[in-house]
Symmetry: C2
Subunit: 271 residues, 2 copies
Amino acid sequence: MYIDCKSIARTIDEETLSLTSKNRARLVSLAIEPDEGTISYLKSQQKKAKSLNIDHETFVLEDVAALRQKLLELSKDETVHGIFVAHPLPKGIDEFEIASLIDPNKDVEGRNPVNLGKLMYGEESFAPCTAAAVVEILSRNMDLQGRNVVIIGRSNTVGLPLSIMLLRRDRSATVTVCHTKTRNLEEKTLQADVIVVAVGRAAFLKPEVVKDGAFVIDVGINVVGDKVVGDVDPEVEKKAIVTPVPGGVGVVTTAILMNRVARTASRGGQA
Amino acid sequence: MYIDCKSIARTIDEETLSLTSKNRARLVSLAIEPDEGTISYLKSQQKKAKSLNIDHETFVLEDVAALRQKLLELSKDETVHGIFVAHPLPKGIDEFEIASLIDPNKDVEGRNPVNLGKLMYGEESFAPCTAAAVVEILSRNMDLQGRNVVIIGRSNTVGLPLSIMLLRRDRSATVTVCHTKTRNLEEKTLQADVIVVAVGRAAFLKPEVVKDGAFVIDVGINVVGDKVVGDVDPEVEKKAIVTPVPGGVGVVTTAILMNRVARTASRGGQA
């Protein structure tokens, strides 16, 4: 069975539209040497922003010095409510340094270390967007208390922040984070009530390692031929409750990102 | 079997002494309404600082306004290399706000959210002290890669930051965080190569839920009658490798805290 993520995104979008009908909101996206995937993503982001009455601009910058400069400028600019930096950045750029330059109150993606640290105090207003989307989808579909959640992947955009968020007292899942060095992964996934897969490999999660009726959240976005597929084998859907790709975590993530721009604007730029 | 934590602390202390022989270092501790335990802790901290040639002062402040003021002042004061705020703070004080006022580069305990967030980027120079002590003890005793680590407790001083630290690529443990809402805790601890207990209940971890030969890190400090005991039942030591209480995680934590003061001083106040 598939989870209907589009309806979750719609609910969030409705709130966003209600906010942008009252306050002008503006999102600025930055990229260096964008590849085809990034360009196509930024175009769809622009379209989505427009549909939600959010002003949107994209700047393609020459190098890291120009990116730094622009980040400082946008962080100060009171007419800007959200700053997005397209990833992956070219090799050699210090992602930590770049993330630290984004004003935490405009950090709609949740990359600034202060926003990551706040998670450990239970403060999630600028949690990493994708992790926030996973929490949103799970919270709307189940009571997480005491559930065994297995997260596969330990990135600072999904696995690590998500683990902290699912442990928060109002959720209280029991969380295991797995990765390439994990031994006997299948023993862990077979005991899981919820599996979150964020590894970036098409059809990585096979049905034989998933418990009947488990919730499976597919964070993967992989291009195979001319198709976009997730990290979960399509067969898993026959025994478990799965988020689709495309039209799953991604649409909720975008809805949350836009919602934050609108919320920041409605607070006059303050979190 | 017990792990010799005092020798680990001594090794760290030697480095600290070598640093303080070259650069004057100064630690300032703050408290509001300190109880007996806090007063006794601050006294032993002062003694320890003295033995390591670190200047130490304690200020007992009247209220949260005075604490805020003092934190701002000390954060700016270039002669101060470490700021310690005694916990627990009186009820009603926003710990997040207080932690945010400590200059991240003098935050020797690792409470400022920016220092917590840096952990997700692999940057640990101001990781929470107790979590850092656990990592130090484990790293000196085993290769963590692929080991199943079960952490019991989800505080922002131990459980949460420790989970992120043990997942870092140079360690690569598989980490499960458990807590009061975890179901069938014993199933998880019995599969664990390493158990970290930070629950604050004397003799909480019983031998029958621990695998033979497992590493058990006891973070508990509980006063029972006139004795200080940990969270681990003394019987566990007969089948597992355990850190003692007292003389375990605590002494390594203090050694790390002092070492950070000395390091910050030797860098001229910068991280």
